[in-house]
């Protein structure tokens, strides 16, 4: 119990500090300046090299322009970027300010009250601390490190330094650079050689750490022949007052290791979700992505797998559900850099009520990857004729020993399937939602039960009122 307390106290102190920061001075400045970065860094007590890193990232950020492809980002006011960077605006909100529809969704998903306030960013505490600590003890015995990024930066500085933004360098794109400059919070996991973490780890830190959920950094290292299942987020809508999310996830899967990274993302509908996720996989290693995108106003999310070691594998399973007012541009990319690497990408997208869903992917096979194998399958379901569904895959293959297949379909729910279900006594509305749930089943079955149930609830909520 003593241990738990220390941890909670830390969190509380951070909160206290933030509450005392005078925010008005940020607001008075328009651009993102070196001073602001220095200030963020100082408050976080960064080592010098991290301050350097942040400042370099800022330089890169100022040089890069917005992507000339993908969804329209003009709603983001880049001149006022600093207003997005305000540390922890979400903590300053109050329960009263949380939009009604989000509160309602919490209730219907059956999320307990304490958790609701936490998810909405107005509560400081979350019951899972307790859960977290009991897990922690067990993991410590096996040598697993699981902590928040700030703590890791101080307690495991060398490891962080060797890996931080090595996979996603700031020059990758403007939001990666922004992330490098202002990142805050996130999770750090280190699994030593040969250790199999039996229970899925969840990113509790997101909910609590300062600035978390906006520019959080996730760094996971799974050493040789070790394995881990990491779950990011949950299906309740996360509400932030500020509306830019530019997180970064870096996953190092070493030889023979296996990592499953699951996400059910349901950001509130005002969020611009520009998240960068990348994994590098060693010889015989496996990365498995399970990715559900339901929330946000605009998303750009394409987890990338770099298959660097011979025989490395990637499995990607994704579901995207775009509804009214949403433009969800999601997908995946795979880079085959070694012989006999293989990848399987399977995605489902649904669009309704004017929502726009885009599947975008890239499969690159380099000269060094003979006998690479990749199969891509994407299916799109449109629930009405005011929505959009676009599929834009690219394959770039060098060499003559690769075996690459791609298949995509687009369409609506078949009348015959509805008739079949109705002939078994199922009402028309239920038949439609059964078919939609069946459509996303490939991802549901990859999730732990409680998440699968939540995702189904989510689909049901989405479908209500639009069917029949």
């Amino acid at each position: 119990m003593a241990q738990e307390k220390t941890y909670i106290e830390d969190i509380e102190r951070t909160l206290y500090d933030i509450k005392n920061v005078d925010k008005s001075k940020y607001k008075s400045q328009s651009g993102l300046t070196e001073d602001i970065i220095r200030d963020i860094s100082a408050r976080k007590n960064d080592p010098d090299w991290m301050l350097e890193f942040r400042l370099k990232s800022l330089e890169v950020y100022n040089q890069l322009s917005l992507p000339n492809w993908g969804p329209d980002l003009s709603e983001l006011n880049m001149d006022e970027i600093v207003t997005y960077v305000q540390p922890d605006a979400k903590m300053t909100g109050s329960w009263d300010e949380v939009p009604e529809d989000i509160k309602e969704t919490f209730d219907r998903l059956g999320i307990p009250e304490a958790e609701q306030t936490s998810l909405a960013g107005v509560g400081a505490q979350y019951d899972s601390e307790v859960v977290y600590h009991s897990i922690q003890e067990d993991l410590v015995k096996q040598g697993v490190i699981y902590t928040d990024m700030e703590t890791a930066l101080h307690e495991h500085e060398e490891i962080v330094r060797d890996h931080f933004m090595k996979l996603v360098p700031p020059k990758d794109h403007k939001f990666a650079a922004l992330h490098g400059a202002v990142w805050s919070g996130g999770s750090f996991v280190y699994v030593p050689e040969g250790v199999h973490v039996e229970i899925p780890l969840q990113s509790y830190f997101r909910l609590n750490a300062a600035g978390a959920g906006q520019f959080e950094h996730t760094l996971i290292i799974v050493e040789k022949n070790a394995s881990l299942h990491f779950i990011e987020g949950c299906s309740a809508p996360k509400y932030n007052v500020t509306n830019l999310h530019a997180g970064c996830v870096e996953l190092f899967v070493n030889d023979g290791a296996r990592l499953r990274y699951s996400t059910i993302e349901n950001w509130s509908r005002n969020m611009m979700n520009l998240n960068t996720k990348r994994a590098v996989v060693g010889k015989d290693g496996v990365i498995e992505w399970v990715s559900g995108s339901f929330g946000s106003h605009v998303s750009m999310l394409y987890p990338c797998s770099v298959l660097k070691g011979e025989n490395a594998k990637c499995e990607f399973t994704g579901v995207t559900f775009a509804s009214k007012g949403q433009n969800l541009d999601t997908g995946a990319s795979v880079i085959h850099c070694a012989p006999h690497t293989s990848a399987n990408i399977s995605t489902r997208t649904i669009s309704k009520a004017g929502g726009k869903a885009t599947y975008r992917s890239a499969v690159k096979v380099t000269k060094n990857a003979p006998y690479a194998k990749c199969s891509v399958n994407c299916e799109s379901l449109m629930l009405d004729d005011i929505s959009r569904s676009d599929t834009l895959p690219t394959m770039d293959i060098e060499g003559d020993e690769a075996d690459i297949g791609h298949e995509a379909t687009i369409g609506r729910i078949s009348d015959e399937a509805i008739f079949y279900l109705m002939s078994r006594g199922v009402s028309e509305d239920e038949a439609r939602s059964m078919i939609v749930r069946g459509f996303v089943e490939p991802i549901a079955k990859e999730l732990p039960l409680e998440y699968a149930v939540e995702m189904n609830n989510l689909v049901n909520i989405e479908l209500e009122g639009t069917m029949g």
Binding site: F419, L421, M422, S423, R424, G425, V426, E428, M434, P442
Partner: protein, 254 residues
Amino acid sequence: MEKLLNIKNLQVTVADKEAEDTSKEILKGIDLQVNKGEIHVVLGPNGSGKSTLMNAIMGHPKYEIAGGSLEFEGEDLTELKTFERARKGIFLSFQTPEEIPGITVENMIRTAKQAVTGENIKVVKFRKELKAAMKELQMDESYAQRYMNVGFSGGEKKRNEILQMLMLQPKLALLDETDSGLDVDAIQIVSNGVKKFHNEDNACLIITHNTRILKQLNVDKVHVLMQGKIVAEGGPELIEKIDKEGFGFLQGAE
């Protein structure tokens, strides 16, 4: 005897809303009565309208009723939606069952059973029943967890239809060529399933080209459908005659 299904002068057209061409009349006045406890057989060459009759009874939206009446237990069916007809106790074993990815056989049947009975079905008891029924039909248990008909062979799809019939216990079972494309053993299994299902309180209307499935069943009445009309009716002896001579001798009957 209690009347279950009562069809009078039924005319059915295919409604292709998009086509400029006028809709095509497929059934041109059908009369058919099925009582509780009976087994009826509909014979007829390909394209004569047998499946159309089944689809019309089940309320397929593509098939429009242009005239006549369609009653079940004395109640007009024509205004009821497909699922409402199913809840009244009508079951159709499809000639080509749909593949529905993502919905397991178990989930499908349990959902249907809840819908049809209006009761919450307890999982444990249900699983037991399902297992028993699958055993009866010599279906591997693992099929309960597979997606509806996805990757099933033709025979497996048909067995899956009969499985649903056994589990849902309808009052009237419509079997549209459930025995087509099956090998001898599979026909035997399906036929056993139908035999087990049939009792004094329900009825079957069977479309078939294969008289083998009828061997163990006590057929009450045979109807021969040609070009959208019933051209001959009789007892089981009609089956044998057609089996031997084909439909040729009936051409004149039109």
